[in-house]
């Protein structure tokens, strides 16, 4: 597949922005020894509320979830920013975002303790980021701009 310069630019910017967001969110959590997803999980709503509350209630599962979140976000972010294994990272990122969405779905009638920064009906920013990652998955750019370019030789799409 060949992209025009504008297309490449737009896709790379999107990839790096999402990566930046993941990397920073993950980094903050990794660097803060007191961070825990507990309060977020307890604030869950929707049909999986019970499931997320159970995670919060079980210390072992919660610790695992905290590590998975903090390091998951960091690694996905790093991968998207530097441009390596971005397709795996996109999938992993979508899974995380889906979990975030399912714990706080923007369904009418569900109120959360933590106020939202806007008004949403079903589609919210989490879901938009998730679908943006789908674009990143479908239109890889790490061979154009990213470490992958040095690792992989098949740059035929560049020509």
């Amino acid at each position: 597949m060949r992209y025009s310069k504008t297309q490449s630019f737009a896709l790379v910017i999107l990839r790096i922005s999402i990566g930046w967001h993941f990397l920073y969110e993950g980094g903050v959590k990794v660097l803060n020894p007191h961070w825990t997803s507990k309060s977020y999980l307890l604030d869950s709503g929707g049909f999986l509320k019970g499931f997320f509350e159970q995670i919060a209630g079980n210390q072992t599962v919660l610790t695992f979830s905290d590590y998975a979140n903090a390091y998951g976000l960091t690694l996905i972010g790093l991968s998207l920013v530097i441009g390596v294994f971005t397709r795996y990272a996109s999938i992993a990122g979508m899974v995380l975002l889906l979990l975030y969405y399912l714990s706080h779905p923007a369904f009418p009638g569900i109120e959360y303790l933590f106020p939202s920064d806007g008004s949403y009906f079903i589609i919210n920013k989490t879901l938009v980021e998730l679908f943006s990652l789908m674009v990143i998955y479908a239109f890889p750019t790490s061979n154009i701009f990213g470490l992958q370019r040095l690792l992989k030789s098949d740059k035929s799409f560049l020509e």
């Binding site: 990397l23 920073y24 309060s39 019970g50 509350e53 370019r149 040095l150 030789s153």
Partner: protein, 522 residues
């Protein structure tokens, strides 16, 4: 052919390839810089907030002292008596089946049952029951026999013996200690009888129904040397201990006002309890219920809803204010106030009750330069919390503890100016089981903490405070070294006098004073 091409291309990375391949690395550096900056700011904030504060936090629960099985008699085995038995590890098998059944659809109950079964065995035996209502006595006997915490049909142990009078129960050689969970007007007569006979006493709050008997029980308990615990389980609330240590370290500055409240809005909370269908003159020993109270003809309402009448109850002041008072007495060593004014009335529950359903009391502590304000209604659940107001910050207490900075604080002036702390936002939080006081920095944490959701959850991990309170009493009995538990008779005396001052002020429409030298209310 394709492979050749690949290797060839690989070997000849152009400058363009290298730039495009590595160009994103500086971005990682940029994000990293942002991270480190936020981390160092958070660390600075944390250290400057916590540097000179060393909260005392209890770690773990003191070990249960080993010894002979303690034989306990329960006097008054209604609602509260049943709960105390549960806290000791004894529940009616019906109840176990009920929890199991409810647990099928609501996991909360499953957890509730699991927690109960996991509750530490205190090495006690319920050997005697005394209740004037047959149904209560029968249920308590079944609970007392349920040593193995089973449902119906499960293995049971020896059933406790029923006594029809408390005197006989106390006289029984099979009883080492008694738990008193009767209506208020019976607390002191039974406690005195028990102490005189060398039986240890756990007595439900409030200590006394009248002022006069308050002196008597104090004397008898002190002379007898029995281990006495008043049933304010709030003594076991960790956050109160932490609050005490924070205040000692002047974290909130000079205190001028303390506000506590009671807010309930349901019939149960207003003491309009259900009347059992089994109850009648044959199944209730009415004469014994009346006791020292003025005679009244048999009344199911008065029997089940005794808290609504002064003859058996101490009203809002004795029943609910005492919880608040004892918490603050624990934190601030309040003692008996210098004076109390009170007002209120029966404004919602026009059901023939004589105790008010709205009560406001102001207790003055001129030596300490602060007022304790109590305000209660049984007809609104707008909870106003427990707040200790200092010049530099205010401390909000529930299961958790929050310290919020005052915008005009002297102590935090610089930190407010530097933006390290924000006015009216929590700067410290303490949650049970955390083992540390946190300086709160991120907006999300502040938000959740301010709403009490940071770590508090009915996951049942927290141990029942009533269980801990009984445990403390049992440990003192087993230690046998003269040590008294936290809510001892002196603390109980202060609680009772403060409550009586409020009740008298309300009933007589005047300000009551405490003459500390003569120890009398004037």
């Amino acid at each position: 052919m394709a492979n050749d091409k690949k290797e060839n291309e690989n070997g000849k990375l152009s400058r363009r390839d290298i730039i495009a391949g590595l160009a994103a690395l500086p971005i990682v550096g940029l994000v990293g810089y942002g991270l480190l900056r936020s981390k160092s700011e958070a660390a600075k904030r944390n250290s400057s907030l916590l540097s000179d504060i060393k909260p005392e936090i209890q770690t773990g629960i003191p070990a249960l002292i080993e010894g002979k099985t303690l034989r306990i008699g329960i006097i008054g085995s209604g609602g509260r008596g049943g709960y105390l038995m549960k806290a000791l590890g004894f529940v009616n098998p019906d109840r176990i089946d009920e929890y199991t059944e409810k647990g099928k659809t609501d996991k909360y109950w499953l957890q509730y049952l699991e927690d109960f079964r996991a509750q530490e065995n205190l090495n006690v035996k319920i050997t005697a029951i005394c209740d004037v209502f047959d149904k209560n006595a029968d249920r308590a006997i079944a609970a007392g026999a349920n040593v193995h915490r089973n449902g119906k049909g499960g293995a049971m142990d020896d059933a406790p013996k029923r006594f029809t009078t408390y005197n006989e129960l106390i006289d029984s050689p099979d009883v080492d200690a008694v738990i008193i969970a009767t209506p208020d007007h019976w607390h002191v007569p039974i406690a005195i009888e028990a102490a005189r006979n060398g039986k240890h006493v756990y007595c439900e709050k409030p200590l006394s129904w009248s002022v006069a008997e308050t002196y008597e029980i104090r004397d008898v308990v002190k002379k007898s040397g029995v281990v006495f615990q008043l049933g304010h389980q709030g003594r076991q609330t960790e956050s109160y201990n932490v609050a005490r240590s924070l205040i000692k370290q002047d974290v909130i500055g000079k205190i001028s006002l303390i506000e506590v409240c009671t807010n309930r809005n349901d019939p149960n909370g207003a003491w309009v309890y259900d009347i059992a269908p089994e109850a009648n003159e044959q199944t209730i020993d009415w004469k014994q219920f009346i006791g020292q109270a003025p005679w009244h003809d048999f009344s199911l309402e008065r029997f089940f809803r005794w808290r609504c009448w002064w003859e058996y109850s101490t009203g809002l002041s004795g029943d609910l204010f005492t919880h608040e008072f004892d918490a603050l007495n624990q934190i601030l060593d309040l003692g008996i106030p210098n004076s109390v004014v009170a007002s209120g009335g029966i404004y919602f529950f026009k059901d023939g009750r004589t105790v008010p359903d709205v009560l406001n009391m102001a207790l003055e502590y001129p030596d300490r330069d602060f007022t304790l304000l109590y305000s209660a209604t049984l007809a609104s659940e707008k909870n106003r919390g427990k707040v200790i107001m200092g010049h530099d910050a205010y401390l909000e207490l529930s299961d958790t503890l929050l310290v919020n900075v005052d915008p005009r604080s002297t102590r935090y002036k610089e930190k407010l100016e530097q933006g390290i702390v924000e006015a009216f936002k929590p700067i410290f939080s303490y949650v049970p089981g955390q083992g540390a006081v946190d300086a709160i920095t991120s907006p999300t944490e502040k938000y959740f903490a301010g709403r009490g959701l940071l770590y508090t959850y009915r996951d049942g991990k927290a141990v029942d405070t009533t269980h801990l309170h009984l445990r403390e009493w049992i440990n003192c009995i087993r230690a046998g070294n003269g040590a008294q538990p936290s809510c001892n008779i002196d603390q109980a005396f202060q609680e009772a006098m403060a409550a009586h001052m409020g009740t008298i002020a309300y009933k007589e429409g005047r300000r009551t004073y405490w003459d500390a030298e003569k120890e009398v209310i004037v």
